[in-house]
Symmetry: C2
Subunit: 464 residues, 2 copies
């Protein structure tokens, strides 16, 4: 491929209208949509739907047991269909005092737009709608059909998306899906993610006496904090090996191509170490050992633990309750539904029948082939838009509903976006660079253009 | 001894004036004195001092680095001196909504006086002053000299009492000390306590990255919650054996007389088990095994543990900090100052150099002989006042500053008081029975009378 993209007219339109796109994004960021608090979520769904209607989409709000999915179709030329997965909810803005400008009052400073949701995920959503609009305004039609799946519960773990995807599998069919987010790494290289870890989030709890007691009773009364500590200490050894029988059975080792992708990544291990203020990573990991561990190994992490008195000073109390939140990040082909059973067996076989397990979240890991059309197009177009070799992540260390929306339906996925390394998603002063935003629109337009030229995926339905 | 006590005139005075004594107690309970909050503590010291002055004591407020000790001397006949240890501070009243009448508005219902501090420790303090007054009013003099040591920081661990006792050792000399509290067990039998466990209260903490991270980083970033769990799990085995090397070295086993006292105790093990809502005690302990463990063994108790997110729902966070509060109850002749060093060695030798130890409280265990004059008098007089065989506890499972005020100065101690089994010290609806209060005054008067007749303890100073 040469430097030319055949899209000069589309890109020119994007460039000329960039102020309008930024204004649309500001308007959307002014509208809170905090799913954890139920704040403004329905209003935001309506705003997103009306913006897509304005651009010409066939838009529906599809109800779920939670917040509706905004689903839009833009019919285009040819047989190819590209889908976009995004979300219209966002994280709570707290702690407010650490923001330099109010989280719901978008402000441009030094070429960056600061607002909650700017990076995660409204910037990406607006960029994708803008790319569609640019094609329609300049060419009168899209080079392929486009579907938007915009959910309102991503930040609370997409609890209703699996059921939604099952019920509407036909509606979701596409030749490839551009996943919600991505951006640039600390060296400014564009990132393309092709998979996500799964997750199983559980709460372990133990009980003792029916009320907190004076700690003098520690002689003879069972202490749930000790029970929990003992139980947790059996889950993983001090070398990070998870000790739950059967836990690793379905783990698929990375392929030679995966390892090659890791080798090419040039991941800034020391940069992250310094950013986190650490002298070393666990087990002094470095190089390929670090990368394989980080991207291809499952985890067992205590996210929280609480029992008794943890305030200032001392209180001599024997707690009546203790609980810990533990997340297991899963890799292909581990199944989040296996984990609670294996965990229960593990605890029972070690005498911890009294330690309860409550599951609060589960998501499958997902992989997309490095060779799928959408992956290859996402990578090759990123190279052309940004003039740099993109970093390809065969897996993301984080989790999301990629399995239910893509892998389970046979749809390959790739994740790209408008963030940069200091975009501070989920944190105060969330922001995106306006340059990245405009390039992100062009990148999506080019992906549409290039994917429309690829050979269709083999589909059982079209062959029959 | 016969049923007669030679104190009919004193007892009659107590009985006639009982309404006045109750009124004094109500007045003192109306005055908050919450040392944890610094609420009304100085005012209460003044009230206590002026009440003792009214009765005729030579009263001083002796300053400490914290709240003053109210010290009073009442000169009496003969060479014997009895001291009383009490405290004028009290626990915070929270949770307020669980009180049936306001904690600082003393109310009599069904023969009980309800107020914060009624049982712990103002009821006992007023009863002791009232006993002194009854002697002075009826006989014009006391049968022995009396000293009051009333501190204002007992409920926050008596942080300045050790230094006070060191500095004023001569002032504190006595032939025996009646300790602050005691009462009746669930069967209505009077209790006499002759010792207290010591305590060493520490906080263990661990750190990871300099900020909380997304839990995806659990692959490679050290998790302080895991470090703490691993470290704690090495402190004690699941059969309750503390694994810190040297921890048990100075433990003195109970004597044959101690065991006899335990056997006579008829301690209501099943009653406590039911009260706590437990199916069984630790290791299914019962009988003498239970009693020896509860009264004569040290403990290692997690009083609190906190790390990461412990709220509602799930948050996928890798915590940057974790901390646990651990109390060690110590038995004679363990030394609270040994524990931090042994603990540090233990952690270091097991690879936990990263786990920090901070000491927040230490008190020595204390024992008084079952055969000391004050112990024998406390027991024999209880038998006569209450008409029942008292329960003698060679040790209390709880802790207090008995070592610094008594054992270290060679003063034997015995603890008796006006509580009953449902007095709810430290809890909502704290109360005492007015009958117990009046009997408590008579009990103290009889102790003074009988102790005045005993042979003096051998004192190096009086022999020289």
């Amino acid at each position: 491929m040469s430097g030319s993209t055949d899209l000069e007219d589309v890109f020119a339109y994007v460039y000329e209208r960039s102020d309008e796109h930024v204004e649309t994004l500001r308007r959307l960021c002014r509208q809170p949509s905090v799913s954890a608090l139920g704040l403004g979520v329905d209003e935001t769904a309506e705003m997103v739907a009306s913006e897509m209607r304005r651009v010409g989409g066939d838009v529906r709000l599809i109800p779920t047991a939670g917040k509706p999915v905004v689903f839009a179709v833009f019919q285009g030329r040819g047989e190819r269909t590209l889908s976009f997965y995004n979300h219209y909810d966002m994280q709570p803005p707290e702690p407010l005092e650490l923001w330099d400008s109010p989280p719901f009052a978008p402000e441009v400073r030094d070429g960056c737009l600061y607002a909650r949701g700017a990076a995660d995920n409204k910037g990406n959503l607006v960029a994708r709608i803008a790319a569609v609009e640019a094609f329609l305004k300049t060419r009168g039609e899209l080079p392929l059909s486009v579907k938007f799946i915009v959910e309102g519960e991503e930040e609370i773990g997409s609890p209703h998306l699996a059921k939604f995807a099952e019920r509407h599998a036909e509606l979701l069919r596409s030749d490839g899906c551009i996943w919600e987010s991505g951006g640039k790494d600390p060296r400014g290289r564009p990132e393309v993610y092709l998979g996500m870890k799964g997750i199983c989030y559980v709460e372990l709890s133990a009980s003792g006496a029916k009320m907190d007691l004076h700690s003098a009773w520690g002689t003879v009364v069972s202490n749930p904090a000790w029970r929990l500590v003992y139980a947790l200490s059996t889950l993983k050894d001090r070398d990070e090996r998870i000790l739950i029988e059967g836990f690793y059975d379905k783990v698929r080792e990375p392929t030679e191509r995966d390892l090659e992708a890791l080798r090419r990544m040039d991941f800034d291990i020391d940069g992250w170490r310094e950013k986190f203020g650490l002298n070393q990573f666990l087990n002094n990991l470095s190089g390929m050992d670090f990368l394989v561990k980080h991207f291809f190994h499952p985890t067992c992490t205590i996210c929280g633990i609480a029992s008794g008195y943890a305030g200032i000073g001392s209180k001599t109390v024997l707690p009546s309750q203790a609980a810990a939140k533990v997340d297991f990040r899963l890799v292909p082909d581990q199944d989040p539904e296996d984990v609670p059973r294996l965990l229960r067996n593990h605890l029972d076989s070690r005498g911890f029948q009294d330690v309860k397990v409550m599951v609060s979240e589960g998501e499958h890991p997902a992989r997309s082939s490095l060779e799928s059309p959408v992956a290859e197009v996402a990578v090759s177009t990123a190279r052309r838009i940004y003039g740099m070799e993109p970093v390809v992540y065969p897996m993301m260390a984080g989790s999301g509903p990629m399995y239910v929306l893509c892998q389970k339906l046979g749809i390959p996925a790739a994740s790209v976006g408008v963030s940069h390394a200091d975009s501070r998603a989920h944190a105060p002063n969330e922001n995106i660079r306006l340059d990245d935003f405009v390039n992100g629109i062009k990148h999506i337009a080019l992906i549409m253009h290039e994917l429309s030229k690829t050979r269709p995926l083999e589909k059982p339905s079209s062959a029959g």
